[in-house]
Symmetry: C2
């Protein structure tokens, strides 16, 4: 029997949130519908955050309202606090994500809270989600490198992940935020994940900023990870670095896994159609390698 | 003791030959000198080919003449036949490269010769090189995939490499021309290379067209390969696909190997300076991931 991996398509949230432009509700809904049509079973669909701070994610409720029902697809929205959770619940969300970091400095700058404070903030969200039957996903950013602190001990990242699991998350995504990590560091992280017994509830979230996204995915897969985040066309490059890569591109992972004989359940041709919706709306090409090769 | 790899910087030839513009002699010479300053010990410096067919490589003799003597650096020029060899010798070349393919169809279209005919063409070149004390490098294109024939049996590529070694080549570069190959295919190729006893004389030449360049480099390194071709900034994308990746970028391999604790002998900061010469002359950014991350 072939090995299988689960992909979480993060283009509509982690991807679009890091693009300069804000896309219209109809475009974002069309994008998500196209990703579903391509076979995705888990899509990060948006975030319930302050529109004045993150305009790219405004009207996530309207995006969800514009979608036809897709009961078999997990649509996860980021919520920073209880207020965001309540907005997500009102919008009919059945899955929300909470996020913290392995680096104190990064979490302070990203969420204006210490790691402990972020858990205090998420405890009521998790309690409500459990009571409401809403699925909970956790994110740990800066699992190996922090833009401010440098190298991060992977044991720290795993300890934070364990706290998220205790809160009720059914999966924790390990975010290699900087894109700087290289394969042996990823192997070390995976060894910690495995040693803590978390392999079945761990996802890896790589960025391709330094070209390591596919290689890091490969070594994590070979270490036993079976869940990966990726974004259509590699959306999500830093707005301050035009042309720089963002999340590892979904199409690149589809090419990798197809070559390894690993089943993803996602149709590469239909994946391209989804990316084309965003590229047309942005009015420019996307950074993914396979995407560029197929869209001269 | 740390592992070491040998890099062959192919930007001035495989890179620039595939760019639309032809760069001036002075710029190409400055680029090569900057690559030497960065620590490269082997540079593919140009080609002695017909200027009407490949204008990007015209005046390679003038480029070499513009360089200060660098006796410790191997500067290799491509020669398609005896006429090209004589021009290279007249220009003072101490190292030339001959090239064929593992795919008959590709070789016919690329060199207008069958594989056997390409060896007939190269036999007198090799004889002259041996007599003249000129080093000989061999290239085998399409070692795993051919744009016309599809999958290629890696045993075929290794058999062609063996013929090049018999001719007198001291190293054979295995060109994964299409960029489509994935890590398990590369491992299979490396197993054939190792089985034939060629690991010490084999280089791997990857393209990043489908985002596999770094991952393929990693698995080849772990299979025992210690010699890799790469181009500054990932120069060498297909002229018909703007933004598409070309050769795997030297900077990306420097990031990979530094993270693995593998010595390359190349200074990443000075490598960037070399790329900047070409980017300024082309008037646009280069496609390499690390290059883009460092040149917002």
């Amino acid at each position: 029997m072939s090995a299988q991996v689960r992909l979480c398509e993060v283009g509509p949230r982690d991807g679009l949130q890091n693009e300069t432009e804000s896309l219209a509700v109809a475009v974002r809904a069309e994008f998500i519908a196209a990703l579903c049509a391509a076979g995705h079973q888990h899509i990060e669909c948006g975030a319930f955050v302050r529109a004045d701070l993150i305009p790219q994610m405004q009207d996530t409720a309207a995006v969800l309202a514009a979608l036809a029902p897709m009961p078999s697809v997990r649509l996860t929205a980021l919520v920073p606090n209880l207020k965001g959770y309540e907005a997500a619940l009102a919008a009919g969300c059945k899955s929300v994500a909470i996020f913290t970091a392995a680096s104190e400095t990064f979490n302070q700058r990203n969420s204006n809270a210490s790691i402990d404070e972020s858990f205090e903030r998420f405890a009521p969200v998790a309690a409500r989600a459990t009571a409401d039957g809403v699925r909970l996903r956790g994110y740990v950013s800066t699992v190996l490198h922090c833009p401010f602190e440098g190298r991060i001990n992977p044991a720290t990242a795993v300890a934070v992940a364990q706290r998220l699991l205790v809160l009720g998350c059914d999966e924790v995504s390990f975010g290699e935020t900087t894109g700087r990590a290289t394969p042996n560091e990823v192997r070390e992280l995976c060894a910690h994940v495995n040693g803590a017994g978390l392999m079945n509830v761990a996802a890896m979230h790589f960025h391709d900023t330094y070209g390591m996204g596919v290689a890091n995915t490969l070594v994590a897969f070979e270490a036993g990870v079976r869940s990966f985040d990726a974004s259509a066309g590699g959306l999500g490059g830093c707005p301050n670095a035009p042309g720089a890569a963002g999340n590892v591109a979904t199409e690149d992972l589809l090419h990798l896994f197809a070559g390894l004989g690993v089943v993803t359940g996602v149709d590469p041709v239909l994946q391209h159609r989804a990316g084309e919706i965003v590229a047309a709306a942005l009015g420019r090409s996307l950074p993914g390698r396979v995407w560029r090769a197929c869209h001269p």
